[in-house]
Amino acid sequence: MTLAELQFQMPDLRLASAEIFVLFMACLVLILDLFVRDGKRTVTFLATQLTLIGAAVVTLATASNDVGFTFSNMYIADLLGDVLKLLLYLTVIIVLLYSRGYVLEREQMAKGEYYVLALFATLGMMVMISANHFLSVYIGIELLSLSLYAMVAMNRDSIPATEAAMKYFVLGALASGLLLYGISMIYGAVGTLEMNAVAERLMTMGYQGERTILVFGLVFVVSGIAFKLGVVPFHMWIPDVYHGAPTAVTLFIATAPKLAAFAMVIRMLANGLLMLAQDWQTMLILLSVLSMAVGNIAAIAQTNLKRMLAYSAISHMGFMLLGIVTGVVGGDARFGLNAYSSSMFYVITYVLTSAGTFGVILLLARGGMESDDLNDFKGLNKRSPWFAAVMMMMMFSMAGIPFFVGFFAKFSVLQAVVAAGYLWLAITAVAFSLIGCFYYLRVVKIMYFDTPVSTAPIEAPIDMKILLSANGLAVALLGIFPGRLMSVCHYTLARSLWL
C-alpha cells in the first residue's frame, strides 16, 4: 500500500452539520444538567427542545436539492434525509412535550439523563436516515437502541419496565447480530458496503455465481430490518416493550423510530439491494401478510390499551410494507416511486396518529398513576368531550375511516398494490383492516357508550392541551387535504431514489 492511498481526506463536515450540532448539544445538555438545581429540570427540558429546534434550523439552512456524500461516502445528504430529519425533530419535540408531565411525576425519570438519552436516540436515528453505508446504518441503530434500552429501564423500581428493558436488550442484541451477519455476507459477495457501490456492482455483475451468498445474506438483513420495524415473526418484543415501558418512553418508541426504520428500508433495500428486489419482496410479502394477520387478530384480545396499540403497530407496519413490496414488478421499477412514496406517506401519518393516541393516554395518566387500561377510558366523553373527540379521531384514523388521514394512508398504499397487479394482496389487506376496525371501534365504544368510572376533570399543562388539540386537528385536516403531503413524499423520493 502506497502512502498516497493512505492519505487522509478531511470529510466535508458541512453536509453533516445537523448531526454534529445535535452531538455537541447533547454533550452540552449533559454538562448543563449537572448545574441545574431545579427538581423539575426545566432548564434541561428547554435546552433539549431548543437543540431540536436548532437542529431543524441547521437542517433547513444546509438543505439542498443536490445529493452530497461525505465521510468517504458513508454519509449521504439528500432531500429524503432532510425531510425525514425535519419530521423526526418535530416528532421528538412533540414526544418530549407530551411526556413532560408524566416524567415529572416519576422520581426515577425526572432526571436530565432522560432528555440527553432522547437526544442521543435522535442522533442515532439521524445517522440511520442519512446512512449510505451498511455499517453507518448499523452505527445508527446501535446508538438508537442503546439509548432506548436505558430509557425503558429508567423507571428502575418498576418491575415490568425492567423486564421490558431486559427483553428489548436481549432481542435487540440478537437482531443486531443477525443484521451484521447478513451485512458480512453481502460484503463477501459484492466486496463493498457502500450502498450506491453495492447497487452498481449488483447491476454490472448480476446474480452470477454469488446468488446463494447474496440471498443468504439478504435473509439476515431483512430479518434485522424486520426486527426494527417490529413485523411478524420478529415482533415478539413489541407488545412487551410497549406495555412494560413507561408510557412516555412507549410514546417515543412508537413514533420516531418508525421514521428511521422507513429510511433504513429505503436506503438498504430500495437503493442498495434494488437488484435483489424480487427476492426481498417475496420475503416482505410474507412478513407483511403475517403482521396484518397476527397484529389485527391479537389486538382484539387485549385489555390493556398500550398492548393493544402494540399489536396495532405491528399490523400498521405490515400494511406499510405493502407499499415497499410492490415497487418492482417483473424486473420493472416503473411503479417504484409511486409505491415507495405511498409507504412514506403511510409512515408519516402513522407517526402523527400514534403520537396523538399516546398523547391522550399520557393526558389521562395523572398523579403517578398509569391509565393504560381500556377501562380507564370509560365515559371519557363525559369527562372531556374534546379530548374524547381527539382520541376518537385517532382511532378512526388508525382504522382507516375517512375523513381522517389514516384512510388516505391506506388508500395510497392499496392503490400502489392494485397498480402493481397484486389484487389478492389488496383484498387480504382490506380483510384484515376490517378485523382491525373492531378493536378501534371498541375504544370509541368505551369512551362514548359506557358510563364513566371516574368523573375527575382532566388536568394537564396548557401547552400539552394545545399541542394535543393541534395534533387531533392535523389528523382531521390532513384527512381532508392529503394532497400536499402526498406530493411532498413523491417529490422527495423522486429526488432521492436511485431507481
Binding site: A426, F449, S487
Partner: protein
C-alpha cells in the same frame, strides 16, 4: 343561480352548523343547541330548494356541476353534480333532517348538542354521497357517514345498542372495502381517472365486469339491504333512537339502491344483464319471505324494519328489469319509502316516548286516548300497505306493471306483497290502536302535542302529494332514466 355552488352549500352548511352546535357544549345550553340545530337544518333545506326550481328537466346531463382539483397525485377531484336520479334525494335528505331535529326536540335530554350535531353532520355527508361524481369523493362520503350513525345508535340507543352499533358498522364496512378495491381497479383500467362519468364510458371485458359487479353488489346489497345480508338492519333499527331510525330508513337505505344506478348498471352493463336473474331472485325473496317474517314480529320497530327490507326489494327488482317504467317506479318507491318509513318510525317513537315499550302486546286501544295520533298513524300504515292515493301505491304499482311486461310470474310473485304487506301493517295497526284500552299504561297516554303534530303534517303532505300527483317527481327523473337505459343497453365488451 349558476354562480352559486349550491351542492357545496347543501353539503357544508349542515356540517358547519353541526360543528357550531357541537361548540355549545354541555347540556346547560341545550335550548340553544336545539334552536341552532333547527336553524341549521332549515338552512340546509333552504339551499337545496334552488336545485329543484333551477333544474333543467330536458337534459340527462349533470347539473349544478362543480369541479376543482382535490388530490393532484391521484387525479381525484372535488367533482359534484346531480341529475334527475340524485337530485330528489338531496332534497329528501335535507327535508328529513328537519323532521329529525324536530322529532328529538323534547325526547333527547342528554348530550343534546352532540345528538343534533351528529344528524346535521350526517345530513351533509349524505348529500355528499348523492352529489359526488368522483370515485374517491363518493367513497369518502360513503364511509364517513357510518361514523355519525354508529355514535347515534351507540350513545342514544336501546339496551342492546352496543351490539347493534358494531354490527351496523362492521357489516357496512365489510361491503364498502371490496367496493374500494373495485374503485382502485377502475382507476387503473381507466388510465388514472376517478371520474365516475368516465368509467361509464370505459369498455371492459365481461370477466372484469363480472368481478366489478360482484364487488359492487356486496357493497350495495349490504346497504340496501338485500336478503341474505339484511340481518344488521332490524338490530340497528330496534336499538337506534327514533331520529336514527328515521334517517336510517329514509335515507341510508337509499344509498345502496342509488349505488346500483350510479355504479353497477352503467359501469358493468353486460354483467348486469347477465346477473339480473340473480338480483331479481334475491329481490323476490326479500319481498315475499321477509314479508312473512314481518308478519310474525311482536316488536313494532322490528316489524317496520322488515317491511323496509321488503319494500327495498321492490326497488332492486325494478332496477333489474331494465325498463323506464320499472326504474322510475323504483325511484318513486325509494322517495315514497323515505316519507312512509320515516313517518312509521316516528309514530312508533311517539308511542315509545310515552309508554316506553315497542311491543305490540303492550298496547291496545290507543285510539281512545290518542285520536289525532291514530288518524295520522292510520294514514302511514295505509301508505306502508300500498293503498292507492298514498305514495306507497305509486311506486309498487309501476314496478308491478313493468314486471307484467317482463315476466308474468315475477309480477305475480311481487304482487303478493299487496296482500302480505297489508296483512302485517294493518294487523299491527289493529292490535295497537283499536279495541278497548288494554292496560293502565295505555290509559295514561296523552295525545300528540303541537311539535309532533307538525312533524306528522310534514310527513303526511309528502305522502299524499306523491300519492295523488306523482308526475312532478317522475318528470324530473325521466330524461336521466332514459339516458341510463340507453347506456345500459349498449355492450361494453370490445
Amino acid at each position: 343561480m349558476s354562480g352559486t355552488p349550491l351542492l357545496s352549500l347543501a353539503i357544508w352548511v349542515p356540517i358547519l352548523a353541526g360543528l357550531v352546535v357541537l361548540a355549545t357544549g354541555s347540556d346547560r345550553n341545550a335550548p340553544l343547541a336545539r334552536m341552532l340545530s333547527l336553524i341549521g337544518a332549515l338552512a340546509g333545506l333552504l339551499v337545496t330548494i334552488p336545485l329543484y326550481t333551477g333544474f333543467d328537466m330536458s337534459t340527462p346531463a349533470m347539473q349544478f356541476v362543480e369541479l376543482s382539483p382535490w388530490i393532484r397525485g391521484f387525479n381525484a377531484n372535488y367533482h359534484l353534480g346531480v341529475d334527475g336520479i340524485s337530485m330528489p334525494f338531496v332534497i329528501l335528505n335535507s327535508f328529513i333532517t328537519v323532521t329529525v331535529v324536530l322529532a328529538g326536540w323534547q325526547v333527547i335530554e342528554s348530550k343534546v348538542a352532540q345528538y343534533n350535531a351528529g344528524f346535521l353532520i350526517m345530513s351533509g355527508l349524505l348529500n355528499g354521497i348523492f352529489s359526488a361524481l368522483d370515485g374517491v369523493l363518493f367513497y369518502v362520503f360513503f364511509e364517513a357517514s357510518l361514523i355519525p350513525l354508529y355514535l347515534i345508535i351507540g350513545i342514544w340507543g336501546g339496551p342492546r345498542r352496543v351490539y347493534a352499533a358494531f354490527k351496523f358498522f362492521l357489516f357496512t364496512l365489510f361491503g364498502s372495502l371490496l367496493f374500494l378495491i373495485a374503485l382502485l381497479y377502475l382507476y387503473m383500467q381507466s388510465g388514472g381517472s376517478f371520474a365516475i362519468l368516465d368509467w361509464h364510458k370505459m369498455p371492459l371485458a365481461l370477466n372484469a365486469q363480472t368481478w366489478l359487479f360482484l364487488a359492487f353488489l356486496v357493497a350495495f346489497a349490504v346497504k340496501v339491504p338485500m336478503w341474505p345480508v339484511h340481518t344488521w338492519l332490524p338490530d340497528a333499527h330496534v336499538e337506534a333512537p327514533t331520529g336514527g331510525s328515521i334517517v336510517l330508513a329514509a335515507i341510508a337505505l337509499k344509498l345502496g339502491a342509488y349505488g346500483f344506478l350510479r355504479f353497477s348498471l352503467p359501469i358493468a352493463p353486460d354483467a348486469s344483464h347477465a346477473m339480473a336473474g340473480m338480483v331479481v331472485g334475491l329481490s323476490l325473496i326479500a319481498i315475499i319471505y321477509i314479508g312473512f317474517v314481518a308478519l310474525v314480529q311482536d316488536d313494532m320497530k322490528k316489524l317496520v324494519a322488515y317491511s323496509s327490507i321488503a319494500h327495498m326489494g321492490f326497488v332492486t327488482l325494478g332496477f333489474f328489469m331494465f325498463s323506464a317504467l320499472a326504474i322510475e317506479g323504483a325511484l318513486v318507491q325509494m322517495i315514497s319509502h323515505g316519507f312512509v318509513s320515516g313517518a312509521m318510525f316516528f309514530s312508533i317513537g311517539v308511542m315509545y316516548d310515552r309508554a316506553h315499550s315497542r311491543q305490540i302486546a303492550d298496547y291496545g286501544g290507543v285510539v281512545n286516548r290518542m285520536p289525532k295520533f291514530a288518524a295520522f298513524f292510520m294514514l302511514f300504515a295505509m301508505a306502508n300497505a300500498g293503498l292507492p292515493a298514498t305514495s306507497g301505491f305509486v311506486g309498487e304499482f309501476m314496478v308491478i306493471l313493468a314486471a307484467v311486461g317482463h315476466n308474468f310470474w315475477i309480477a305475480f310473485a311481487a304482487a303478493t306483497t299487496m296482500i302480505v304487506g297489508a296483512a302485517y301493517t294493518l294487523w299491527m295497526y289493529k292490535r295497537v290502536v283499536f279495541g278497548a284500552v288494554s292496560n293502565h299504561h295505555v290509559a295514561e297516554l296523552t295525545d300528540i302535542n303541537a311539535r309532533e303534530f307538525l312533524v306528522f303534517v310534514l310527513f303526511a303532505v309528502g305522502t299524499l302529494v306523491m300519492g295523488l300527483y306523482p308526475q312532478p317527481f317522475t318528470e324530473i327523473m325521466h330524461s336521466s332514466v332514459n339516458e341510463l337505459l340507453r347506456h345500459v343497453a349498449l355492450s361494453k365488451i370490445q
